[in-house]
């Protein structure tokens, strides 16, 4: 449903993203991994309309959305979350989620109902009246997810929703993400937590220095020598393949 072709972006002469091609099929969970500064977030930002690409195209459901403003892309059903969480700090959790919910309805009552339902789905029911600035990191990450979900997206772009979470919290959010996928939302995520990547994704792309260096199923990626060299390191790769073996 999402096609990215030849996407390029440079900042101050340095290529952050260099001719990247990738695609996400409906109903899948696709991961984008790679070292820091590889251009993952920039890629997301271009897909979601926050950064205009220098070259290349972004097509969603066969329509060209390259260079559209974020809100128009959201209208089409593509919503991103932020790596560094961006809550509406003085608003309550409920009010935060309502901003997303308003995207589907102008009615306050309806927006509130929708927000409550989404909060339940991501496990934030108990936190509805708390000010967003008082949430823990885990809470904020969930809030990011909940707000995005409340807009009723077809494709969710999740930027490191697991960074800074402990293993228990990661397991919880993995369950939530799976649930979202099962409810019919396609998911494209950036993640460092390899355990989750292995566990969740149907397909993965690896970026390094702005260039795609590998693509394939997680298992295939974990054994890719390029990926191990540039990103995973041997230790992590061993652990991962071990985990996958154990998990399977």
């Amino acid at each position: 449903m999402l096609e990215v072709k030849g996407l390029c972006k440079s900042f101050g002469g340095v290529a952050a993203v260099n001719t990247v091609d990738l695609s996400v099929d409906e109903g899948q969970i696709v991961s984008l991994i790679g070292p820091n500064g590889a251009g993952k977030t920039t890629t997301f930002a271009m897909v979601a309309g926050f950064v205009a690409p220098d070259a290349g195209s972004v097509t969603f459901e066969k329509q060209n959305i390259t260079g559209f403003k974020p809100h128009r892309i959201c209208d089409r059903g593509v919503v991103r979350t932020f790596q560094v969480t961006q809550p509406f700090a003085t608003l309550s959790t409920l009010e935060n989620i309502m901003v997303g919910a308003y995207h589907r309805t102008a009615n306050r009552q309806a927006a509130e109902e929708r927000a409550r339902a989404v909060a339940e789905q991501v496990g934030m029911k108990a936190l509805l009246d708390q000010a967003a600035e008082g949430l823990t990191v885990a809470g904020r990450k969930r809030l990011e997810l909940a707000r995005a979900l409340a807009t009723g997206p077809k494709l969710l772009l999740l930027d490191e929703v697991m960074a800074g979470l402990n293993p228990t919290e990661i397991d919880e959010i993995v369950t939530v993400i799976k649930g979202i996928r099962d409810s019919g939302v396609t998911i494209f995520l950036i993640e460092h937590v390899m355990k989750a990547v292995m566990n969740l994704s149907d397909f993965a792309y690896v970026l390094n220095d702005g260039v795609l260096i590998a693509a394939g199923t997680p298992t295939k990626i974990a054994s890719d020598s390029n990926v191990i060299e540039a990103y995973l390191g041997h230790g992590a790769a061993e652990r991962m393949t071990g985990e996958v073996a154990a998990g399977a």
């Binding site: 820091n36 500064g37 823990t136 885990a138 960074a163 402990n166 228990t168 460092h192 995973l232 390191g233």
Partner: protein, 233 residues
């Protein structure tokens, strides 16, 4: 060398830490583990003098430091490398390092910078570059290097692996061990339980503002309670 006794602390009116007892001996790596919101950062910041404790005592090398201004604590040789690196983005790498020795003056500056560039050779080529333009891993190196410039005897590293790729995480832990080999005591505050315990001598597990577990790293790594409450296994 660091002795925390019955510490109660928090920020504003919110109490986060309850009755924390913790000690670090010279030359050790002590890991402080715990999930988000367990109080790790509050603990660091209280030790570093950013927050004033509500009650309890913090002694560093026999001297009471609770409630002392943060710059005095740095001067005494207790330095924190904060979570999220917090390098000075508008200063060059060199200037960042120089600022690390703000309290030490210019006496050993050149010598120490040389030493740090030995530890982090990657920074040599980037000395003139603004720290804000570095990659995350490089910024982490600057942050640690800046901390070392203060000639600490105890270094608190707050989540040094956060946001780094697995490869860099591995390198980071190797470096931490290397720095420790020079005789520097380190408090390693981490979520990355497995790798932290691999380098640490001893560890504390913080839960809901209290010490839930403590002991030698080698024992903790097999602890069932830790696995259950923290690793979720």
């Amino acid at each position: 060398m660091l002795e925390v006794k019955s510490l109660e602390a928090g920020y504003g009116l919110v109490q986060v830490l309850r009755g924390i007892d913790l000690n670090v001996n010279s030359g050790e790596i002590v890991a402080v583990l715990g999930s988000n919101g367990a109080g790790k950062s509050t603990l660091n910041n209280t030790i570093s003098g950013l927050y004033k404790p509500f009650a309890g005592s913090i002694q560093f090398e026999g001297q009471e430091i609770s409630g002392m201004a943060s710059e005095r604590i740095v001067e005494m040789g207790l330095v924190q490398v904060p979570e999220g690196r917090r390098v000075f983005p508008n200063l060059s790498v060199l200037e960042n390092l120089e600022m690390g020795s703000y309290r030490r003056g210019k006496g050993n500056r050149a010598k120490n910078i040389e030493h740090i560039l030995e530890i982090f050779p990657r920074l040599s080529a980037r000395l003139k570059q603004l720290a804000g333009t570095l990659s995350g891993g490089e910024q982490q190196m600057v942050a640690i290097g800046r901390g070392l410039m203060a000639e600490p005897r105890l270094l608190i590293l707050d989540e040094p692996s956060l946001g780094l790729s697995p490869l860099l995480v591995e390198q980071m832990f190797t470096l931490i061990k290397k720095i420790n080999n020079d005789g520097l005591a380190i408090v390693l505050v981490e979520q990355n339980v497995v790798q932290s315990l691999a380098v640490a001598d001893r560890a504390y597990v913080l839960e809901n503002g209290e010490i839930a577990l403590s002991g030698p790293a080698s024992e903790l790594i097999d602890d069932a309670q830790l696995k259950k409450s923290y690793l979720g296994i």
